[in-house]
Symmetry: C2
Subunit: 473 residues, 2 copies
């Protein structure tokens, strides 16, 4: 049996390697007459035996996909790129670094990279009162585990909250508490995405979500999000062609662009999802951070058949340190999600849930939101003012924490970042948010973390650096 | 390209289904002349199209592995079980429920299932003092994220702690903070185990760890752990034959048995691991809960080549609610683990880490441990006394929280549990801890959660229920 097993395993690995190479040739990532990576490189990258790579190359040679140049290596045969040039590239997944985390880790004075709110704008003092209250109310809160789904009291309170603001029916049983929305996305990927499933994702999209689905082994197909929302015909087309397992979307004050998908598109999207058996995963992180008018109804409120999972992050603008998010999940999908959560960490810490619960109930929360909106709008406007002379382009966001800025033609976001970090300024190059890794012209500038003075100073520095790269100095 | 992709996907799924059926026939799980599950059942179970299952059956028929009985279905051809009857069964992985979580969820008066410490034995009052201290020291602790690796101050303090108690060299960079040891195991599985990798695991073993590796797609091979530790020749043999990616072990006050693997075996095990390129994942949850003498040196302290990841849970006997565990990780393995952690939740909550840090530094911690050991030893002895007349068998554990009990012949742990829960008593059937799901004769009884009176009452009830199942009443 040992032998049979190893034979099967070889077959499996062989197919992986073969597919890996062929996909890249077909989608034109490796082009005609281009030299392929060496057998040694690929065996290291894919963690397989060199012989397996060699065999894959041999078969591709027989099929006239590659050719050999003596003592040099393997080259792509011309004319093998995909005929369907119109179809979007499919990104096959192999474990890769979380790029965003690496940028955030850089210690700088002018931090426009991490989409967090300035701790000075958060209700720290109030929260520490609530912590004391929590210990009086639940003296053994640190001695017990929460249930895997999350604290029943918090879930009940959130169910009421959702019913109130969204005029929809939610029960505590539909709610799962997670350690931030990042964990929610990760659990959803593990519960519902198998390797080689297709996942639809916005372009641009939240970088750590892209990485999560890629690391789960998904093929990524991207759909543009613009000021006007989505091209729904294209979404329908992609759902038919690629049969995606799920569509990860962030339709309200979208990260990084700040766009809002209009209501008529939300309704139609739910119909499409239902029709094509595609799960919608709606990530809603900043609905309360609006500047003109309140956020429109979330997509999940139009769902009547259990096609939408709604991920609601709460802590970003109250207490990021608490790391509390809620997932609204249709009943049929609940068991898989609970199982994955129980294996992932056996439930989020109870203390954090109780602190959040008590603050969340308070009037101070609403007052905090009103103040926060004003403070952030001021910071946004200051950043926009500083950028107004640069020739850079952006749509003024209607909510959220970021400007999504198009640089001048001849500077790439990544090049700018390298120089900027040297001068203690950080931001996120737009290419990190591109599922296809192609758009180098954009950057995401977060206006919520630095105070007014720092925004002015830091953005001036950044503009200066960009101009020097442009050869103007 | 769309077509090519779908063809490849079909090929992949086909191979999965074919392997799934063939493995079960070869290992004798489906025996000669036994009816196979229907095409419909398998297509539902494996979430593939019926046609894919049909094709797999057709190929197996051609290969004379199965035969058809008209209008009845497919049957196993005789003589197809594996020749190597000596080799252990290999459990192929498909997502399954976390069984343990389901038992723990049952609301009962006599809780011998969850291996937690009675909240009344924990230093709740002291901890709430430390929480206030934390807010004085770090007024913005709730306004910021911890770094992905965990709070630097906590990691430094833990590095000193490990160096002190284990006389080994540890730097803060080697330490990753996780939300409990369950998360650590889950992250390790994601970072280092690919589908169809083999994972070596003790038999019996912590049920949620078994489930985690299975859900990651690993083939599980189990190695017995006994009072004397391991059969190292067998481990060597398995490492040669199955080339396991990692060995998950719990060698100190092992869960569920309480066994301690002797020092000479620890040393040899590290040599074997290094020789066969097998990662050792050492789970150490209760080293401070010993009754006779202190725990022996962990396996990782004998490692000189980066072959061991050490998972140290702290909170179980201080403050389970904080959910803080530490992972000591060789430098080469660190980047993969950090990436997975950043995608899993972007770092554990900072508040919890700071509270733990300050309590951990205190003298009260050591005083707490001494008291706790005495309290738990008393509870263990009371439970043993209550069981002494039953004819049930167990080795008195030298540490930890559980008795691993062999019932009388004619009652299975699962049957006993069903009746017990009706009468408000819970425990964990031993079969949950068996990677092969075969040993029905054992139960795990936790003595740490109930007080002395409840232990007496609950165990009497349990014995009574067992006797009634035996037909003695």
């Amino acid at each position: 049996m040992g032998k049979a097993r190893r034979k099967n395993e070889n077959g499996f690995l062989f197919e992986q390697v073969y597919d890996f190479i062929l996909h890249r040739i077909e989608r034109g990532e490796w082009q005609g007459n281009e030299k392929l990576p060496s057998i040694r490189q690929l065996s290291l990258e894919m963690k397989v035996h060199r012989l397996t790579v060699f065999k894959a190359f041999q078969l591709l040679k027989e099929q006239n996909k590659v050719y050999v140049v003596d003592k040099k290596g393997y080259y792509v045969q011309i004319g093998n790129a995909s005929k369907e040039a119109e179809s979007p590239p499919i990104v096959t997944a192999y474990p890769k670094e979380n790029q965003l985390a690496a940028v955030h880790a850089a210690p700088v004075m002018y931090q426009f990279s991490q989409a967090l709110i300035d701790p000075n704008l958060l209700p720290n003092h109030y929260l520490s009162d609530y912590v004391k209250k929590v210990f009086d109310l639940y003296p053994k809160v640190l001695a017990t585990y929460a249930t895997v789904e999350g604290d029943p009291e918090l879930r009940e309170s959130l169910a009421h909250y959702f019913m109130n603001i969204h005029k929809t029916y939610v029960t505590p049983e539909n709610i799962l508490i997670t350690t931030g929305s990042q964990q929610a996305i990760h659990l959803i990927a593990q519960a519902f995405v198998k390797p080689r499933d297709t996942v639809l994702i916005e372009r641009p999209a939240y970088s750590a979500a892209i990485d999560t689905f890629k690391n789960q082994g998904a093929n990524i197909v991207a759909i543009d999000i613009t000021e006007k929302g989505y091209d729904l015909d294209r979404i329908e087309d992609y759902m038919k062609t690629y049969k995606p397992r799920l569509f990860y979307l962030n339709p309200t004050f979208h990260n990084p662009t700040g766009y809002v998908v209009p209501v008529f598109q939300r309704k139609r999207l739910v119909e499409l999802a239902e029709q094509h058996n595609c799960l919608l995963v709606e990530d809603d992180a900043y609905p309360d951070i609006y500047f003109e008018k309140q956020a429109v109804q979330p997509v999940y409120t139009f769902d009547t058949t259990g096609s939408v999972i709604y991920v609601r992050s709460f802590c970003k603008y109250v207490s990021p340190g608490l790391r509390v998010a809620a997932v609204l999940c249709p009943p049929a999908l609940r068991p898989a999600l609970i199982t994955v959560k129980s294996l992932a960490d056996n439930g989020s810490p109870l203390l954090n849930q109780k602190i959040f619960l008590h603050f969340f109930h308070s009037e101070r929360m609403q007052q905090h939101f009103s103040k926060l909106r004003i403070a952030l709008q001021i910071r946004k406007e200051i950043m926009e003012e500083e950028l107004s002379e640069t020739g850079w382009q952006w749509e003024s966001p209607k909510g959220g924490l970021n400007l999504w800025v198009k640089l001048n033609d001849d500077v790439s976001g990544s090049d700018l970042l390298k120089k900027a970090i040297e001068q203690s300024v950080s931001f996120v190059p737009g290419v990190y948010f591109d599922p296809y890794g192609q758009d180098h012209s954009r950057v995401r500038l977060t206006y919520s973390y630095m105070n007014e003075v720092k925004i002015k100073e830091g953005i001036r520095k950044l503009v200066h650096i960009s101009q020097s790269l442009n050869g103007k100095y």
